[in-house]
């Protein structure tokens, strides 16, 4: 099977075949991460620029490690949003980087559509590492990878995502990918955090967490922020924890073999109680581990036909 995408801008337009290929490819890379010498020559001679307009530790490090384990030359650029406002446009910055002939640009940006913007203007491959409230495809794909690893399948799973769905690119990318793979997606959160029309994507929307959790195979908790652009969406974190935080009691509503996931960073005691965050059902660190393999797969697949097998 061949991969026809030059860019990874989101999961919205990935077919089930695309997603399966990405997960299968990641499977083959995962073993490399357990070796004593964690490096293969797959992307030797390729240059990857990690262009990050938002602070990120986990995602940037994960991409960088993935790039290095594939022998690509990785360059990190941390552009703060303030420097954008007073100076260069995104197009100019990107064109300057492109003039140095990178093969792939991995971009994280505060504006929805930023990855799409670059893909329209540059010749190199673009991987979206999170754009505004739009998409974060590598996160969703590593989540699916982790689910598949534990459950043996995606189709037919009931996945409950709880939190600020409106502002969550993780929720969107997971929704699109899970729906396309045949999972049942439930979204839950306070009314201020459910975006209008989201149910048209074929998910179920809940404002009562208990109902959303009942019989779930996977529960994914999203990081919560009290304010967005200076506007409060919640009266308090305390109240949020009471109604939408995940604790041991609530988790009992889900299936016994439920997986608890979180894209990080966690707010312990807010969206997730420590006994759950550290409990036996959580696969949160496995998500992080799998992230490297999934990102290796994405870097490899957008690079086109490889000179050698991984």
């Amino acid at each position: 099977m061949s991969f026809s995408h030059k860019h990874i801008l989101g999961t919205r337009h990935l077919s089930p075949q695309d997603i399966t290929l990405i997960l299968d490819t990641a499977e083959s890379f995962k073993e490399i991460n357990a070796r004593a010498i964690k490096k293969v020559p797959t992307l030797r001679g390729k240059t990857v620029v990690n262009l990050f307009y938002e602070a990120s530790t986990r995602t940037r490090t994960s991409f960088e490690i993935a790039e290095k384990r594939l022998s690509a030359d990785a360059v990190n650029i941390a552009a703060s949003s303030s420097s954008v406002v007073k100076g260069e446009t995104l197009e100019d910055t990107a064109k300057n980087i492109e003039a140095m002939r990178p093969d792939i640009i991995v971009i994280r940006h505060f504006a929805s559509g930023a990855a799409d913007y670059l893909a329209k203007r540059l010749d190199c491959s673009i991987i979206n590492a999170g754009d505004g409230a739009h998409e974060h495809p590598s996160q969703a794909l590593l989540d699916l990878f982790t689910m598949r690893q534990h459950k043996g399948r995606i189709a037919g799973l009931t996945v409950t995502i709880v939190g600020d769905i409106t502002h969550s690119r993780v929720a969107r990318s997971n929704l699109f990918a899970l729906h396309s793979m045949g999972a049942e997606v439930r979204l839950a959160g306070p009314g201020t955090m459910i975006p209008p029309g989201i149910e048209k994507f074929g998910c179920k929307v809940f404002t009562a967490m208990d109902e959303a959790l009942a019989g779930a195979d996977v529960v994914m908790m999203l990081r919560i922020q009290l304010e967005r652009q200076g506007r409060s969406l919640l009266p308090s974190l305390r109240e949020y924890a009471r109604f939408y935080g995940l604790n041991r009691d609530k988790l009992k509503l889900a299936r016994e073999d439920v997986l608890v996931m979180h894209p990080g960073p966690m707010n312990r005691g807010v969206e997730i109680a420590s006994d759950v965050a550290d409990g036996e059902r959580n696969v949160i660190l496995e998500q992080v581990e799998n992230g490297v393999a999934v990102r290796m797969a994405l870097l490899y697949l957008v690079s086109g036909p490889a000179p050698e097998n991984p």
């Binding site: 995104l90 409230a133 029309g197």
Partner: protein, 424 residues
Amino acid sequence: MKTVIKKGRVVDPGQGREQILDVLIVDGIVARIAEAIDEADAEIIDARGMVVAPGLIDIHVHLRDPGQEYKEDIVSGTRAAAAGGFTAVACMPNTAPVNDTLAVTEYIRNRALHEGLVRVYPIGAITKGLRGETLTEMGELAAGGCVAFSDDGRWIADGDLMRRALEYVKPFGVPLMTHAEDTTVSAGGVMNEGFVATDLGLKGIPWVAEDAAVFRDVMLAALTGTRLHVCHISTRGSVDILRNAKKAGIGVTGEVTPHHFTLTEEAVRGYDTNAKMSPPLRTEEDLEAIRQGLADGTIDVIATDHAPHHRDEKNVEFNLALNGIVGLETALSLTLALVGKGILTLPQALAKLTSAPARVLSLPGGSLREGSAADIVIFDPQRKWTVDPQLFQSKSRNTPFAGRQLEGVVCRTLVGGRTVFRRL
């Protein structure tokens, strides 16, 4: 100096006229409209197969002059107007400096008089600096040539201030024009709220931001008895509010832009910043209600909200792009498309671009009467063309209609009998 426009289909909705006729212009004045006018010494304009109509009037444009001449100025803006068949435009006060003093009003009028290709009517600011705090000297501004007042782009959130503005302006006989948007509801949104915004991860603006503001302003118009004009209606609810207000005898009028009766929020997909405007493009249901409102007369006027922006102001991330599009050079064709779809008759459509805007702002023109200035547009209603922004007369190119095939080509525009635009 005599000119005869021969054998065109004269469509003058202001007089209910639609007939193949000749139009004789003498010294810039419409001297006679009749069948077969033969004047030996007259220049002949062959208008066979063409529509001859009163020059179009756009009561909502941004000429960006003074202050933002890199986007547009009075010369380029009136050239774009002429190319679009417009012989008069009313320009919004959000210039730099704001048109809130007589000096700015006079600057605009003088530059337009000496260098403009079409008639330019300034709209003054309701509040100084468009800050929504203190009223401008509307009496002096009206006497100096302002034909209406508006804080365009900024709704006057202070209800008492808006009431005072309506009360104060009433004796001067000019209307207020409201950009109705409760920004505490739109709250930083960048497109219509709904499925598409959710899909794109963009913050939405719900319809209630407009409806609530329209309702308050219409009620204040009822309270004060001052004429109110509602700019660029974009929602189904606004159409209903306006319809009910008119039924109740409240002195309100309304306008819609060609983009709001042509495009929906779907145009934003792909993060096309040329589909970013205020109010935002809405849904199919809103479009339907607006077309109904045009057909039943609830919406009086088609106005472009011609909003030129430099490429650099649109070629950015969607959140950062400025609102608005140019409209003068596509408005007639997009309006004729409504005729093609059977929503309006040709006279109805032209009324919304001629007699109705003249009536709303009490402007001369908008009709072809013997003895009136020969402000005339001659266009071929059938001829197809493809929108190429590079060919615009405007300095700016920000249009979502690039590449679209339209029908209706302006062949000639005359202001006071003088040809200000001609296309073969």
